[in-house]
Symmetry: C2
Subunit: 345 residues, 2 copies
DNA sequence: GTATTTTTGATTTACGTACATCAAAAATTC
DNA sequence: GAATTTTTGATGTACGTAAATCAAAAATAC
């Protein structure tokens, strides 16, 4: 049987009230006594029964999720997963609020973080934009003892407790390696379409891709990176131009969102162009393009996993508990036509 | 605020005791009254607070894991994950027992299942071997109201509640597709090394691979499947023979375990042989071979995820609760040298 | 209508923890 | 050594559910 507070009291030779004072760092305990109790806790290997504690406290976890607005299919999928988590609120004792901010707008994001702080939540999950004011806003949250998790895109130099997202350097490398192997000896340059170099994940992917696609001998020519700001229309125009300017284009790596535009441009050009296309994130559009052969490979991060992970970590941090590291590792999923999960629709 | 049993009692106009009788199907309630209570439950959207209920019941979940013995690195890794879960028993209210049985031995497995039944656990997780006596043993467990989850390898036609493992048909297809794309126009046949056709996962992988590697035109010659029974020594001898017999061998697909033998044979032959090797399961050996370039791609199933998933599902089933489907989907992970997770060691 | 059985209500204790109150004991100050 | 402050103990209530007991009420049988 698992030891309880009563066992600690007996072991330490103090009353239940004193054990309670130590466990919940309430004042009025001499350090000698505190030591006795802490020794008893260590000896018995006591761990607080979180379920019972939460019951007694009627605890709930108010959490705030901040993510970019706009028609980015991945972000809307992420939001759907947060909604799904909200539906489980009763069971999980969470109370989730979703806040939308303009994409790639550091000032707006910093404001949203400060607003969140005003509500005194137990934790905040945020899709970060890298900027000093955002780092500062996160620091303020942490000073108030609010747990912070970055979601999808990390925030360099910040005090965030955890990053719920993939290793984007490795993701870029993986894309580069696949591009290299899929192209084999085929001639022609490779184009790269990004969203914005303002977000860490895009920068990381670019770096990884560039390194891996030319690993060994290769000598593959990479065209200058173009930015489509995750906007389908913008991306489509950019890819149209690329296809015109480079008749012998061998491959395209789309490392951001707006794949609807990429797919439209490629299909206009006719897939017989034989261009090897690698993109990110499984959405209804990109899925269809993978099945039809317009896209050759998709790298994906499981939005549902990220959201559930963020919630677990925020709850654990709010209670000062540890987490199961391996469970919170977000995988870089590689989808070919052959290993697509069953369509949920 | 979430409704409680008190709210139901008030809503239905009955006493707390009656609500309790209905909720825990105790006898002695007229069907008219039972209906009243059930309507109140529906109206208020009551869901039992599992944490509070478990506290009141001092409930624990005795679980039994049955897996094959032997030096199969993947299975030993799986066992380590079960041990890790056992270390969390106090927090998760589980009480986990591990049972080992000879590999590929249906009779021994059926006996182990019957033994497990004798202990009256809340649930059983089992790495299945396909055989009628195993199916029958699982049926007996289910008759006793014991939840059953198959782990890694499924059991066709059985009454198991859930399968915690990957879609091995898709895994085989994925391997085939990668082999086809990686080989490109390179000449030469492809060899296939299996463990045993007695387990469902190996049969499925073979089927998927065969279909995908020759998709489209391809016309790749596949050598007859050889069985190494997941034994490194046996596998090494088989691969040695293959390399001698087929000087122009283009690729090898190892769909079972015993990769230590495969790697040894390939390295003896010298990797300049330029054979494209694709195998399953990330272990210390296969990881090193992937890094060194002896193996080109590894398909993996996350043993930790499978174990945690099995536990979640068994607990939920034991309580008659539903699960988060997406969370229990075990992914087919594709590892290249470029997206290897950080070495835990 | 009485006797019997079945159904329902009222009440209590328990699970492990949190939190509050008040009295008693110990330590500190002067 | 008395007065004051700090520390500790004893006790009770609460969280939401489970489970048990016993009495009261209602339904059924004869």
């Amino acid at each position: 049987m698992r030891p309880t507070v009563h066992d600690i009291a007996a072991e330490a030779g103090v009353s239940l009230a004193t054990v309670d004072r130590v466990l919940n760092n309430r004042p009025g305990v001499r350090s000698v006594t505190r030591d006795k109790v802490e020794r008893a806790i260590a000896t018995l290997g006591y761990v607080r029964d979180v379920a019972a504690a939460n019951l007694a406290k009627s605890r709930s976890y108010p959490l705030i999720f901040i993510l970019p607005e706009g028609e980015n299919a991945f972000m809307r999928g992420l939001e759907a997963e947060i909604e799904a988590a909200r539906a489980r609120s009763a069971v999980e004792r969470t109370d989730i609020t979703i806040v939308s901010v303009p994409a790639f707008d550091a000032a707006a994001l910093a404001n949203a973080l400060d607003d969140a702080r005003g509500h005194g939540p137990a934790g905040v999950a945020v899709v970060a934009v890298e900027a000093p004011e955002v780092v500062a806003a996160v620091a303020r949250l942490r000073e108030d003892g609010i747990a912070v998790v970055t979601l999808v895109s990390d925030l360099t130099g910040s005090q965030r407790d955890h990053f719920a997202g993939v290793d984007n350097l490795a993701a870029g490398r993986t894309a580069g390696s696949l591009m290299r192997r899929f192209l084999g000896s085929r001639e022609g340059p490779v184009a790269i379409v990004a969203g914005s170099m303002r977000v860490r994940d895009h920068r990381d992917r670019l770096e990884g891709f560039t390194a891996a696609v030319n690993e060994g001998d290769a000598g593959r020519v990479l065209l200058p990176v173009v930015e489509g700001h995750d906007d389908p229309g913008e991306v489509e125009a950019l890819v149209d131009d690329l296809l015109v300017a480079h008749a012998n284009l061998a491959g395209i790596y789309s490392l951001g969102a707006g794949n609807r535009g990429l797919i439209a441009a490629l299909e206009k050009a006719g897939r017989q162009s034989g261009i090897c296309a690698i993109a990110h994130e499984l959405t209804p559009y990109s899925r269809a393009a993978l099945v039809s052969g317009t896209i050759d490979a998709l790298l994906n991060q499981d939005a549902g996993h990220e959201v559930r992970s963020a919630i677990r970590v925020l709850k654990a941090r709010a209670d000062g508990l540890s987490m199961i590291e391996a469970q919170e590792r977000i995988r870089i999923e590689i989808f070919l036509r052959d290993n697509l999960p069953v369509d949920p629709a």
